[in-house]
Amino acid sequence: MAKILKLRELSKKDVLISAGHRMCAGCGAPTVVKMVLMASDYPVIAANSTGCLEVSTCISDYTAWKIPWIHSAFENAAATISGVETMYRALKKQGKIDREIKFIAFGGDGGTYDIGLQSLSGAMERGHDMLYICYDNGAYMNTGIQRSSATPFGADTTTRPAGSAVPGKTEQRKNLTRIMAAHDIPYVAQASPSHWMDLMKKVRKALEIKGPKFMNILSPCNRGWRSRTDDSIMLSRLAVETCHWPLYEVENGVTKITFRPKQKRPVEDFLRPQGRFKHLFKPENEWIIKKSQEDIDREWEKLQKEEALFAS
């Protein structure tokens, strides 16, 4: 087991993604990466899919990554890191390497829920000792805020803009965390940078488990969410407190809710500060907010029932 996290010790740790990268001010993604890397007590090698995080952190001749890092393409971060991990196993078996190293892939929601789902599913099924982290900002941000299957219901994006005939995204989000849990891998979790201790504990737990692990981490994007640059963490907190983004884990098939809001806030609290949901507050779009609330309630109830099932 990893040691208990203490803030004092954390403050002494190196930050392994340096300042000076070119992500937008207030972007959630580098904060997520910083927390993930800080949580590890082991050396980490990372793969990164094409997307905001990748294009803004390694522009030749500069790199923000203080760990070995590889970017290959958009849809193959999982397959790429699976290759790195396999070579590690091969060389370890031959006695050419003896250090304990952990392997993490970072992918955006587009690179994970959509174009990279096959590569991710394959790598998980093959049982590589790796942690895949999806930083979910709810759209293809790098190419200019296009809709992905992670985009929330009703959100305004550049390929499904809210107009007089179409009220933004007309489909529900894909529940990727559940899809990954259905792979029956040893560890799946959902986390948010607002609850940093919970996030880092989950990473530490995941890294102690041998085999394939998946974490879905909410990653606010002020460009795409049309929100203030200094509201990112607040928004990720509201996502958790409204249960839009419940914090839970599924360890060896056992579901556990890791944070229970004292009082579940209405979804409007999460939607209102974001420009991408502005049109939902027009009278004709009321039904979208109502449906969003129903979807959230249903999923939250389902999670609680699942948790109770294992508790009894």
């Binding site: 001749d61 290759g83 070579m87 590569s119 093959r126």
Partner: protein, 393 residues
């Protein structure tokens, strides 16, 4: 002592891979490559080779895993055909752009649609500009020998580039023929220990692979890649020399057959070259000066050497087992034309497309072509620059 066996081409290449023992191999089934990786996998299952297999869910992931494994710092191989190579296309450029010495047998097969599992060269031709070295093989022996040499070429410290070894699906891949195997120890000595260059697994020296390079430096990066290609020919020849010492078998950038004093010639790749050589013998017996050139190193294409070898001829037919659609010629015809362009006096050139989707290439096809070349040298006139042969009207 070499061991002489009767084996399929795929079996021979699987044995070459076993003898080389890559650290990591990725595998995904596709006809006619499947047999190769199946045989290799059974070597793994039976403990006859210490290689970690990655049994991926697609060829896209096969090449992606190879990129990761190769960057990590070890010897890597995979194999494919046809649609599998097409699916890898995106990552082929990444493997070469990152200068990763991955070795990949490509068991040549046609491309869909229409679906067809049999031999032609459309698959590898579609990847000829991807920055990979391509080495083509006439028969099972060449496929075996080229696979072994490919590791030395790919891993050469002056180039570090991925290599494809191409051989004909079914015709070579699945046919049993005579192969002379080297001893395991000889192969291992020949390829040597893998030498790491900037391995990702070196935690003490963290490196970033695959940066974004903007217009300020992208072109310099590409120019460097082009310059590296110019070093390949010499390395291929050096490795061939060493291989000859070991095996007694001679390889070059291309093979010429009765070409030195020839008036007419055929340029043709892979298995069809064998059939053509027989027909050339018959024409020679009749006093006709016919010859053949069979490319081996197809990428980077040895334009200068090729032009020098062919410039003396009066007429040449380039036979392509693939077509570059769009009112153009077969891919190899375009390359041979380019080789000959600099010369004031040059042969007349024609292009025949043959053998698509496994259509048989028969001695009568070679005869037809040689007779046409005789006619061209007599009349000085070309009737048709491009024609499909062995096809219904």
């Amino acid at each position: 002592m070499p061991k002489i066996v009767a084996a399929t081409g795929n079996e021979g290449v699987a044995n070459a891979l076993r003898q080389v023992t890559p650290d990591v191999c990725a595998a995904y089934p596709i006809t006619p490559q499947t047999e190769l990786m199946q045989r290799f996998s059974s070597f793994v299952s039976n403990g006859q080779v210490q290689t970690e297999l990655v049994l991926v869910e697609s060829e896209h992931s096969a090449m992606s895993a190879c990129v990761g494994a190769s960057a990590a710092g070890g010897r890597v191989a995979t194999a494919t055909s046809s649609q599998g190579l097409a699916l890898m296309w995106e990552i082929l450029y990444i493997a070469s752009g990152l200068r990763l010495p991955i070795v990949m047998p490509v068991v040549n097969r046609s491309l869909s649609a229409p679906l067809n599992i049999h031999c032609d060269h459309s698959d590898a031709m579609g990847a000829r500009d991807s920055g990979w070295i391509q080495i083509w093989s006439e028969n099972a022996q060449e496929a075996y020998d080229n696979t072994i040499q490919a590791f030395r070429i790919a891993e050469h410290l002056d180039i570090r580039l991925p290599v494809m070894i191409c051989y004909d699906g079914f015709i070579i891949g699945h046919s049993i023929s005579r192969i002379e195997y080297l001893e395991d120890g000889e192969v291992q000595n020949f390829v040597g220990e893998f030498r790491q260059v900037n391995p990702l697994l070196d935690i003490e020296h963290p490196l970033s692979y695959g940066p974004l390079i903007l217009p300020d430096y992208y072109m310099e990066y590409r120019k460097a890649q082009d310059e590296v290609a110019s070093k390949v020919s010499k390395i291929v020849l050096d490795v061939a020399d060493e291989f000859k010492k070991l095996s007694g078998r001679k390889y070059g950038l291309f093979e010429t057959y009765r070409l030195d004093d020839a008036d007419i010639g055929i340029v043709i790749l892979n298995s069809a070259a064998g059939t053509t050589k027989d027909v050339i013998d018959e024409f020679r017996d009749r006093g006709i000066k016919a010859g053949l050139l069979k490319p081996r190193l197809y990428r980077p294409f040895p334009y200068v050497e090729m032009g020098e070898a062919l410039k003396y001829l009066k007429a040449i037919c380039v036979l392509d087992r693939s077509d570059a659609f769009g009112g153009s010629f077969g891919q190899m015809f375009l390359d041979i034309s380019t080789s000959l362009y600099p010369y004031d006096k040059k042969p007349l050139l024609i292009n025949k497309i043959y053998g698509l989707g496994g259509r048989d290439y028969l001695p009568e096809h070679a005869e037809h072509v040689l007779n046409e070349l005789i006619e061209i040298t007599r009349s000085g006139k070309v009737k048709a620059y491009k024609e499909y042969i062995g096809v219904r009207e």
